[in-house]
């Protein structure tokens, strides 16, 4: 599986910015103009063909490695011309994560963390109020559901069918809130804990990010023997894990 961008053409021999759907990767490509086209022998205009190379890139699963695949741009010929592998040593990402809130199942704010300025600074009292009212609003958004999910309809969805019986037919509450300045993604675990992640409006891949944060929470908070549930989270390893995860990307 690879994506073939339509109008990104590398400027050969000069630094070029290649937008990648997930991150913006800036790297210098020093391509050799004498690349042999595999089918150059029977191309009528091999030089034109070479100048219109397309780059396809895909991020490896680990996220640290990119494969760049050069294509001939002519629609008739789609043979790969070369394959490069590069690591993220030269990456600059555009991930802006403003803040993370964790709301316990009873509506209390048990963790809040600001990663990036851009949202209003609120006092801890205000934050508690926002979290509490969001807890209520989340419940109302569940109530308002105009078409409650049917058990049969949702059984096709593999991610929800893992949940035990009552949850499959229960409407999910608010998942994404969009405003003109930020976007809030809410992920509710089966035990009722809510993770709110505030990012910039057009931010892709929040789902995987919030799942990763949930993993960090499970590893470093829930497995911490000194942590009592429903109490504010003070786990240094969790903080550091978030730093390593969120700040590296921003």
């Amino acid at each position: 599986m690879y994506m073939r961008p339509r109008d990104w053409q590398p400027t050969l021999g000069s630094p070029c910015a290649i937008p990648i759907p997930i991150l913006t990767l800036n790297l210098t490509l020093n391509l050799n103009l004498n690349l042999p086209h595999p089918r150059a022998a029977w191309q009528t205009t091999p030089i034109d063909c070479l100048l219109q190379l397309h780059l396809a890139c895909l991020q490896s699963l680990i996220g640290t490695c990119y494969f760049l695949l050069l294509h001939c741009a002519s629609p008739a010929c789609c043979c790969p011309v070369g394959l490069w592998t590069t690591t993220t040593t030269t990456t600059t990402t555009t991930m802006v994560v403003f803040a993370l809130f964790i709301i316990s199942k009873s509506g209390g704010l048990i963790y809040n963390r600001e990663f990036h300025t851009g949202m209003n600074k609120l006092s801890s009292n205000d934050l508690l109020m926002v979290a509490g009212s969001f807890h209520g609003m989340h419940a109302i958004t569940k109530q308002l559901c105009p078409n409650p999910p049917q058990a049969s309809a949702s059984s096709s969805n593999t991610s929800t069918s893992l949940a035990p019986a009552p949850w499959v037919t229960r409407p999910t509450g608010l998942e994404v809130l969009e405003t003109s300045q930020f976007r809030m993604q809410c992920f509710q675990t089966l035990t009722g804990v809510k993770f709110l992640l505030f990012t910039e409006p057009q931010q892709p891949n929040i789902d995987s990010m919030i799942k990763k944060i949930y993993e960090l929470y499970a590893d470093f908070v829930m497995k911490n023997p000194f942590y009592t549930v429903e109490m504010p989270i003070r786990c240094e390893k969790f903080d550091r894990g978030l730093d390593g995860f969120v700040k590296v990307r921003s």
Binding site: M119, N120, L122, D126, V130, S133, F134, G136, M137, I140, T141, K142, Q143, L144, C145, P146, N147, P148, P149, Q150, A153, T169, P171, T172, G173, L174, E175, V176, L177, E178, T179, S180, Q181, F182, F198
Partner: protein, 165 residues
């Protein structure tokens, strides 16, 4: 494209116009959702849901939208505006006029932001057929003067034209 409902709230928390396209709640015109299954739902599957009537829905939506708007102002600053939210089942689109009238539309989750359309409904339909109507009162207690024939028909054609089923 599935459209569930549409509401207009005036600046005093009152719902002055509402319209639903969901079959089990109201037998209004066409636009059935794909998996209607109204009988299954009313079979005591969700009794609390069925017991609630329309005016309760309106109040809930107003309260929700009002609090979300306040929360957004608190978090993002005064010039931040609430646009929409999405759950796993539906999406709510929101538009507020400078006079604090609120236009709310519930659709399926695949819909992009409908804010421009809500703005058009306000500018081209509400202002034209309700505000400029000499017989309509200034305020609309209980929705008097909003649901006139021109407005209804305009809304119907607008929705059919802009949001094809």
């Amino acid at each position: 494209m599935v459209l569930y409902s549409f509401y207009i709230f005036d600046r005093h928390t009152e719902c002055i116009y509402s319209r639903r396209w969901t079959p089990p709640r109201e037998s209004s015109s066409g636009k059935a959702r794909p998996e209607s299954g109204g009988s299954i739902t009313s079979n005591g599957d969700q009794p609390a849901h069925a017991a609630r009537n329309h005016s309760d829905d309106e109040k809930l939506i107003f309260g929700l939208v009002f609090s979300l708007r306040n929360m957004v102002h608190k978090l993002g600053g005064e010039d931040d505006t609430f646009l929409s939210y999405r759950t796993g089942e539906y999406k709510l689109h929101y538009y507020e006029t400078p006079t604090r009238m609120k236009f709310v539309m519930l659709t399926d989750t695949k819909q992009n932001n409908l804010r421009p359309y809500l703005h058009q409904i306000w500018a081209n339909l509400y202002v034209e057929f309700v505000v400029k109507n000499p017989l309509a009162p200034v305020e609309h207690p209980g929705g008097i003067g909003v649901a006139n024939e021109m407005f209804e028909r305009g809304l119907e054609t607008f929705i059919v034209a802009v949001l094809p089923a």
